[in-house]
Amino acid sequence: MIQLADVEKTYLMGETEVKALRGLDLSIEEGDFVAIVGPSGSGKSTLMHIIGALDVPDKGKVLMDGNDISDYSENELAKLRGEQAGFVFQTFNLIHTLNSLENVSLPLTFQGVPQGKREEKARKLLTAVGLGGRVGHKPAELSGGEQQRVAIARALINDPNLLLADEPTGNLDTETGKEIMDLLKDLNETRGMTVVIVTHNPNDASYAHKTVHIVDGQIRDAKTARGGS
């Protein structure tokens, strides 16, 4: 589904150049559950951004379903994200002026889906993640776990093939974190959704079929452990 070949990415952090990825190869198959692990600053978030078409590499190729997206324009990337990818972030990144229903339906707003249709779908998804009674609540009125569920529902609204989660349990307690990971596992198993998570929590990583260990912008090793925890 996704192939990265010799991908390099350097970005500026203030005045210093940071070599986030240094010639990295990776292949993700459809239906995979991949955990990207590694120490802080190893480039795992950058890798996830490139997999999720949020960013393009300076060098190398990114093939998504056989198409090289490394020279896509910003608009083409936005379209790709809007149609194929869903993102879940450590800090949830909900829009605090909007309620759960509006937050979840936001991606469809940018695709021009009419309000009735997108809210119907958002309501179903919120019910599916166990928040059917919280549709009118704003993020500030929800617990961390609830906010992350809203974020997951938002990531699912466009029926993506690929769900990307950057430290999805990083701001949650262990119990809630486990619930969220169970939810992701369920999506992978029952819907066949490809899930890529970035984490440095070994517990989270144990859910994955495949663990990609990154150090200094390169893959140290990649393990396949079918079956999960």
């Binding site: 960013d55 608009n75 994200r81 605090h96 940018f110």
Partner: protein, 407 residues
């Protein structure tokens, strides 16, 4: 899609209530000032045009002398000028529907109550003046008694209200004009509107009015006029007729100057228009400041919502979507300011109009043209949107990854 963006923009305006209101206030002040100034200016223009309308646009005023030799101001031309016009010269112009000659003299007046003598203005009116040109004399309202007979067979006079008191006479009494006895047949009602309009007789309250025939026989020189008012046929070309009148007098070895209502109203209109543009220009500066306020608010919003913009981009918002979102938001700030400012402006100019009416003691109402109302609201929207262009472009150009990383 537009409505969705409108909804999102509305949410974020609502969410930053105080800042939004302060920004809107900047626009409100500018729009209020512009709407007030223009509606009052337009009202002044309208009421002046209305005065001209009353006089009629198909009228010509003919004065003796050429424009270069005439001395003195407009209203006392007839009285001070020694030249006269012979109405017979233009008698045969067929575009003239009605001709109203007026002759003004300074007369020696005596009455029983008056100690000594007084030199007063005497105006001789032809009959057509009071049928076709009554607007020039505010309707010439007789308060007590009746109008003199235009035949001029008897010496009759109508007095202004003030002069009748000064002379200590009432209807039926006699006064002496140039040594001859005149019967006071009527006294005019006090003229409350003495400032309004143009007149050729000083003010109505202190005038002595006699028939045109009488003044001509009293002062001699044949049938002479100090001024002739002409009403033309509706189909007539006013300026063409005015030219031929001047030509006729020139051919007759005298000189005449014509003034058309159109000419005067055009000049007054131009002058008022210039003043209005200047005032609106000053008010526009405050609106501009309001626009800068919108820009400032939007730049702050872009900074504050950088992460939000990153999220929107992550979930598929294109650069254009973000641009539109911010433009709509700033346009909305302008629009709300415009609507409120227009309402305030309308209320303020109605209140100011009352004061103006009191100060002028003449009817006055500010004028609210649809173009002003719609223009003010639409302009505020565009001003808001334009002020948002730079911040919105900055927002739309943000890289999603960097925006998401922004703390």
């Amino acid at each position: 899609m537009f409505l969705d963006y409108l909804g999102l923009s509305w949410q974020s305006i609502k969410n930053r209530r105080l800042r939004s209101w302060l920004t809107i206030l900047g626009i409100v002040i500018g729009v209020t000032a512009i709407v007030t100034l223009i509606s009052i200016g337009q009202g002044v223009q309208d009421s002046i045009l209305n005065e001209f309308e009353k006089l009629g646009y198909n009228t010509i005023t003919v004065l003796p002398g050429s424009i270069n030799t005439r001395r003195g101001g407009f209203s006392n031309v007839g009285g001070n000028d020694t030249d006269y016009l012979d109405p017979a010269v233009i008698e045969n112009l067929d575009q003239i529907q009605s001709s109203g000659p007026i002759r003004t003299e300074t007369g020696l007046v005596n009455s029983e109550d008056l100690e000594g003598q007084a030199f007063l203005r005497v105006t001789g009116l032809s009959q057509s003046i009071l049928t076709d040109f009554e607007a020039y004399f505010n309707g010439f309202p007789i308060g007590s008694g009746e109008l003199f007979s235009f035949s001029g067979e008897e010496n009759q006079v109508v007095l202004g209200s003030k002069i009748s008191e000064d002379l200590g006479v009432s209807t039926g009494d006699k006064i002496q004009l140039e040594g001859q006895d005149f019967t006071v047949t009527g006294i005019l009602t006090p003229d409350e509107d003495s400032d309004g309009g143009f007149n050729f007789y000083g003010d109505l309250d202190s005038g002595l009015f006699v028939p045109y025939r009488t003044i001509n026989s009293l002062y001699g020189g044949g049938m002479q006029a100090s001024i002739i008012l002409l009403e033309l046929a509706d189909s007539a070309d006013v300026s063409e007729v005015a030219d031929s009148i001047e030509q006729l007098y020139a051919d007759n070895d005298s000189a005449a100057t014509t003034i058309t209502t159109e000419e005067i109203s055009e000049r007054v209109n131009n002058a008022l228009g210039t003043i209005q543009i200047a005032l609106a220009g000053i008010a526009a500066i405050s609106l501009l400041v309001g626009g800068v306020g919108v820009m400032n608010t939007m730049y702050t919003a872009v900074l504050e919502r950088t992460r939000e913009i990153g999220v929107m981009k992550a979930v598929g918002a294109k650069n254009k979507s973000i641009l539109n979102l911010f433009l709509i938001e700033s346009g909305l700030l302008g629009l709300i300011g415009g609507i409120i400012g227009t309402l305030f402006g309308v209320v303020l100019s109605i209140i100011a109009g009352k004061f103006i009416q009191q100060a002028l003691s003449a009817p006055f109402a500010p004028s609210f043209r649809p173009a002003l109302i719609i223009g003010a609201v639409a302009f505020s929207f565009f001003l808001g949107a334009i002020s948002g262009v730079l911040p919105a472009r900055q927002a739309s150009a943000l890289q999603p990854v960097e925006a998401l990383r922004y703390e």
